[in-house]
Amino acid sequence: MAKGKMKKKSMSVDMTAMCDVSFLLLTFFVLTSTAKLPEPLPVDTPASTVQTKLPESNLATVTVGEGKVFFGILGKNERIETLEHIGEKYNIEFTDAEKRQFSFLEGIGTPVAGLKQFLNLSPDVITKAVQPGIPTDSIDNQLKEWVQAARVVTRDRNNKILDVAIKGDAEEEYPKIKRVMDILQEQRVNKFFLVTGLRNEDF
């Protein structure tokens, strides 16, 4: 009788310490993971077997899809400074609220002329608003200005060279992609990353 009692008692383990540790870890992962913002231009990237990771900082992303071009840069402060550069170039004065709004955006696809109006939209509308894309034609090559501004900011601020990633839709026609590559090459950006998805083994 006494033996049986002992055995029964040892069945339950004290979970307090385990629970503490697991919640500590949980808190850590919740805080370190970055919330994924909705993409301004959702694209279906083509798959590849190459598995190079994208750099985590000093990266500008040119998104191409549906014939539109969007531009985005990583880092809130970098975004604000890039916007200031663009403002200087096109003689537009942005308010602090507009800069703040811009720093939350993953990518931008509005021509400079309509940018001020776009940034004054309320935050819940701005992620859903349809943007026409950044002009890339030779008369009004705004993509070039954006890339140039971002490069200057990265150089001055972080003393690093800006990496450029092209995130194209799989069904996007080649001339559009080529146009983006040409714009980058005109500025002697000859090395870029092509954002791709992961392909299964038996390709």
Partner: protein
């Protein structure tokens, strides 16, 4: 743990005992949930970063230099043309007098990869120098899409082609594809 003492004992004693037993809460479910969430966050944080592919293009020259254009031995060049509807045409040598091809091909394991692999093996044998492998020139047409380009660049990585370049397509090659 949960042993109820029914056999005898005063009512007072019983009360104290049951109070003591209630103080322990079963944490199993809570720990289960916590670990489930940990696993979720661990996996999503690492999966969040997208894959990418490096592409280095040659520097653009302002003036067309015919010297650099003709420097490439024609016996080593394999030109791959990308057309619409996932069409591929490839040939070896010069466009006006290809010594092999033009040949139609499809994407994937049993298609263009076989040809690239055979060229990767055969070209160093004909040149007699393992350093002088095949040079692949990729020429996407206006009607090809981005997926085609990435697929071909992927083939370059799979087959370990050391030298490849992306170039503009010429009218003769468009004719090979049947596009004008």
């Amino acid at each position: 743990m949960a042993e109820l003492n029914t056999g005898g004992g005063g009512g007072k004693e019983k009360k104290v005992r049951s109070k003591k037993q209630n103080s322990g809460v079963d944490l199993t479910a809570m720990v289960d949930l916590a670990f489930l969430l940990i696993t979720f966050f661990m996996l999503t944080t690492s999966m969040n970063k997208p894959q990418s592919m490096n592409l280095a293009m040659p520097e653009k020259e302002d003036t067309e230099d015919p010297e650099t254009e003709t420097n490439v031995a024609e016996s080593r060049t394999m030109t791959i043309l990308l057309g619409e509807n996932d069409k591929i045409v490839w040939y070896m040598g010069k466009v006006e007098s290809p010594f092999e091809g033009p040949k139609d091909q499809v994407y994937g394991k049993g298609g263009i990869r076989v040809d690239i692999q055979s060229k990767v093996k055969s070209v160093p044998l004909t040149t007699g120098d393992p350093e002088k492998g095949v040079i692949v020139i990729i020429k996407p047409s206006e009607k090809s899409n981005y997926r085609n380009l990435v697929d071909i660049l992927d083939e370059m990585a799979i087959n370990d082609v050391k030298a490849y370049a992306i170039s503009d397509i010429v009218p003769e090659e468009l004719a090979m594809l049947g596009e004008n």
